[in-house]
Every structure is written in C-alpha cells, then in structure tokens.
C-alpha cells in the first residue's frame, strides 16, 4: 500500500496552490496531513482522487498513476474529500449498496454498518438527512467498499462529539489493516489517530515525521518550571532580557513555561538562571504537536 506525490504543482489562475509537493507514504497506519486553511491539503487530496489534474508532477497509488490510469489507481481508494453528498434521490440502503457494488462487493453488510456507525434508518432519503448523518452514510459507503487506502479530508469537521467519536473509532479500527491519509485541524485528533504526520503550508511541505518524534523535537525547546515560591513576572522578564529565555508564558504565580533556542547549552543556561529563583520541579514542556504546528506555521492557529 502506498500513496506517492512526486513534485506535484498546481496553480489556480495566478495562485500557486501546490508547489512541487512530494510525499511518499507506505504501509499500514494513519498518516496525518496538517496545515492551515488554503495550505493545499484538500487540493493534494483532490489530485490523489482524480478530481483535479496536477499541472506538473505525478500522483500515484499502489504504483498506478492517478492521471494516466485513474480507474486502476482509484480501485484501491475510498475517500471523503471536501464535503461530498450522497445521491439525494437514493435512500441510505440504495446508496451504500450502490457504492459497494461499483467496487464488486456484493453484500455491504448493512446491519453491521448500521450498528457500527449508528446509521440513520436505511429507508431514509439521503436528501432528508442532517450533515452528520450524511457523513456517516458516506463513511458507511467507504467502509462497504473495503478499500486498501482511505483518504479522509477533515472527516469530523462540523460533527457533534458523538459523531466525531464514531469516526475516530472507525479510523482507529481501519488503520490496523489499511493506509489512512487524514487531514484535520484538530491536533488532539491527529495525535490520537496518526502515527506519522506531514505539515504543509502555502503549497509546500514544511516538515514530516513520526508524531511522537515531532512532538518531542518541538516540545524540547521549552521547559515548564514550578517555583518553590510565588515569582513575580518581572523576575522572569529579567531572564529573557539577559537573552537566556526566548520567551515565556505564565501558567500561575508559581508556574511558568520558558522557551530557549533548542540547544543543549541554551537549556543549561536557562536551568542555571531559574534555579537561582528556587524551584520545586522542572520538566520539558509537553506542548507536543501543537507546539510543532505553531512554530512551523509561524504562529498561525486555527
């Protein structure tokens, strides 16, 4: 199982939406695709699902070029990209059965899917369903197609907590045997579901790696200090003025998170300074993926 984007570029008019994007994802598991609105996530996913053609570069799935052999490439893929709708003139049963049969699956196991995804009544017309119900029907259709590769573009956006949980549980279950490419704005969701992650901004890939590795790397640029006594903010500002701390945030009168340049010496100098103020405990700040996202996207939080 693999998804490959090789130097893919796409322009909409004068705007470059994807700028030589390269991705190579192999094997089972869940792969997170993160970035602010307009970064190029959905466009990348549309290229991978043959909804748009790249201006240059190639997208392929399991070795088949999406542009040249779309039916072969898409045979492996189940996708929910942007905000699709099930066919309005079909009922739930008909739509899921249709989705399964176009992939050669005779029985979509509707009873099982209904229990698993809390599907609306199977005789309900799709145009009468709420947004969350439509999403679950689409997920049901994708699951019924039994694809090797799932491409999910912010699948829980706009869903209530119960519906989001259904989606997350389904992704956790499917990633054991399949390759899932997931874009999301919800960093806790990505942390919970994904094994690896790629950050994209302004149409360019800015960072890739394992979720834990990235979280560790970026959180190691700040420490959380609990002081033995209430500390005035001016005392912390003094440390920053000396150039030892790159910044700080105040959690409480005794607890602060202080940033440093990421080097080992920088960390040692910072620790020497805070120890002078008498500390109770000190640890690497656990901001993880959120910290990585904030730093890579230049402070853009959605």
């Amino acid at each position: 199982m693999d998804i490959v984007l090789d130097n893919v570029s796409k322009r909409f008019g004068n705007r470059t939406v994807l700028d030589k994007v390269s991705l190579n994802i192999e094997g089972k598991g869940c792969f997170g695709y993160l970035g602010p609105n307009g970064a190029g996530k959905t466009t990348s996913m549309k290229v991978l699902t043959s909804l748009i053609r790249p201006d240059s570069g190639t997208a392929s799935i399991n070795g088949f070029s999406v542009a040249k052999e779309p039916t072969k490439a898409l045979k492996f893929v189940g996708s929910i990209v942007e905000d699709p709708e099930p066919y309005s003139s079909m009922n739930v049963r008909e739509f899921i059965t249709f989705a399964a049969r176009i992939r050669g699956v005779a029985d979509p196991h509707l009873d099982e899917l209904t229990k698993l995804l809390d599907l609306p009544p199977l005789d309900s017309r799709c145009n009468k369903l709420s947004k969350g119900q439509k999403r679950r029907v689409l997920l049901g259709a994708v699951v019924a197609q039994d694809p090797e590769v799932l491409i999910l573009d912010e699948p829980t956006a706009g869903l209530d907590p119960k519906e989001s949980l259904i989606f997350r549980n389904m992704i956790l279950s499917m990633k054991k045997e399949r390759l899932v490419l997931l874009s999301s704005h919800l960093l806790y969701e990505v942390t919970q579901l994904c094994d690896r992650v790629t950050f994209i901004d302004k149409g360019r890939i800015v960072e890739s790696g394992g979720v834990e590795e990235l979280a560790r790397r970026f959180s190691s640029k700040s420490i959380r200090v609990e002081f033995a006594r209430p500390v005035d903010e001016s005392e912390i500002a003094d440390i920053q003025r000396k150039g030892v701390a790159t910044g700080y945030t105040r959690d409480s009168e005794r607890t602060y998170v202080l940033g440093f340049d990421g080097s080992e010496e920088g960390r040692e100098r910072l620790v020497e300074e805070v120890v002078k103020l008498r500390i109770r405990s000190l640890q690497d700040a656990g901001l993880g993926l959120e910290q990585a996202y904030t730093e890579l996207m230049g402070g853009k939080q959605e």
């Binding site: 039916t71 072969k72 996708s79 990209v81 003139s89 249709f98 049969r101 050669g104 029985d107 689409l138």
Partner: protein, 266 residues
C-alpha cells in the same frame, strides 16, 4: 457467497431506476399523454367535431411533438453531466469508473426513459386512431421511428450541452431548451433565406417527421427552386444520417469534455 453484478449492470440499473422513478419522468409522461389524448377526449365529449381521419386526429399532437421531445430531452439529460460538478460529484468522480463509461451509461439510461415515454406516446396514438377509424396513419411506424430517433439524438445533444455548461444544472437545462427551441430555428431560417441547406441542424432533420404525417401529399423534393434561391428539405435518409450523427458526435464531444473537467470548487 453471492457475486456482485458487473459494473455496467450496476450503473445502468441504478441510473435507469433513478430516471424511471423521478418526478421529471412522470411529469413528462403526463404531458405527452395529455397531448395525445386531448383531441379524442374533446371529440368524445362532443366539445369538438370528429376530424374524420387518423391523420387529422393526430395532427394536433404531431404539431407539438418536436417541442415536447426537445423539452423532454432537456429534462431527462440536461443535468446529466452538470450534476457531477456539485457535492455529489465529489463522490462520483472519485470512483474507479472511466468517465467515458459514465457518459455512455447515463446516455443509455436517459435513452431508456425517453424511449418509454416516446413509445407510450405513439402507442396511445395508434390505439386511439384504431379505436376511432379502424386504421392509423399510413407511415405511422416510420413516423414513430423518426420520433424515437429524434428523441435519442436530442438526449445526446443535450448531454453535450450539459458538459459545456457544466457549472450549473439549471443553466445547462435552460441553455439546452433555448438552443433547440430558439437558436436553431433562427439559424435555420437565416440559412434558408440565403439558400443554404441547414444540414448541421437537428431541427432541419426533424422536418422529416412532419412531412411523413401528411400521407395525402407527395414527400417534398429535396431541392425546391423558387427564383434565384433554392430551398431544401431533408430526405428521410438524410434525416436518419443527421440524427444518428448527432448521437455519435454529441456523445464523443461530451465524453471528451467530461474527461477534461476538474472539480475545483463545489
């Protein structure tokens, strides 16, 4: 374990079923039947006198058939491509189905619906003339055949227009109606005034149907001279060729355009 039906069977079965249970299909069927049954109903209720012949009884529905067939094609196929450039298309176009296959299957499905309506229309016409006069119009099978071919050609042409005006379903239906009901007759009239045969226009080919309805007169000559300007009338074979040409060329162009379309924003 049961086997899933083939992709073609699944697609054709699904799209045909959607046509045959749509409100548009039943509205069209109603208007076709209304048109065909209106004259006999007026005769039976003695509102109008008996016209005296099968051809006269059918002259009223015949006069409206081309317009109704055009409207029918626009409603059956006017959004057959543009429907995919909406949120539903995000599902359809990301499936492993060649777009040419989608065009072919959707055409056949719309053609089946159009055939059901057209055959019903002409069958009712035959039944009522037999009931009234014990016979029907001399060329009735030919007329019905041309009527069906015209419907099939219009469905293909409207699908092509739907691929051209793909951004809006309403627009693609409206443009289809305007092109055939307004634009083509105007171009046809301009060409006629200049003595040019309007063979590229399907509205020209459709004149065969009207000519066949009138068994009393001779089939019009292909070229009729009046002064310096020639006027043209399609021969039946020319009509068949133009209509069949519309089916083939429209579907090829439709598939070519559909393949190139991107779903950037919905």
């Amino acid at each position: 374990m049961s086997k899933a039906p083939s992709l073609n069977v699944t697609l054709l079965g699904t799209y045909t079923r959607l046509h045959l249970r749509s409100a548009r299909f039943y509205v069209l069927l109603f208007f076709y039947l209304l048109l065909m049954l209106l004259a006999p109903a007026l005769v039976l209720t003695k509102v109008a006198p008996n016209p005296g012949s099968a051809a006269a009884l059918l002259s009223f529905p015949e006069g409206f058939f081309i317009f109704l067939a055009t409207l029918g094609a626009a409603l059956l196929a006017g959004d057959s491509i543009s429907q995919d450039f909406s949120r539903q298309g995000l599902f359809t176009l990301s499936q492993p189905i060649a777009r040419a296959r989608i065009v072919a299957v959707r055409y056949v499905a719309a053609a089946i619906a159009g055939t059901v309506i057209t055959v019903t229309f002409f069958s009712v016409g035959a039944a009522e003339t037999y009931a009234f006069y014990g016979t029907t119009v001399a060329n009735y099978a030919e007329i019905a055949g041309f009527g069906l071919l015209y419907t099939l050609a219009m469905i293909a042409f409207v699908m092509f227009l739907s691929a051209v005006f793909y951004r809006s379903q309403v627009l693609s239906i409206l443009v289809s109606i305007l092109t055939i009901a307004l634009f083509m007759p105007i171009v046809s009239a301009i060409l006629a005034s200049k003595g040019i045969e309007a063979w590229p226009l399907i509205t020209y080919a459709s004149e065969v149907i009207g000519a066949l309805y009138n068994p009393a007169s001779q089939y019009p000559l292909h070229i009729q001279s009046s002064g310096a300007v020639n006027s043209y009338f399609p021969t039946p074979w020319e009509g068949v060729t133009i209509m069949a040409g519309y089916v083939v060329v429209s579907l090829l162009l439709c598939a070519a355009l559909y393949r190139r379309r991107e779903l950037r924003e919905v």
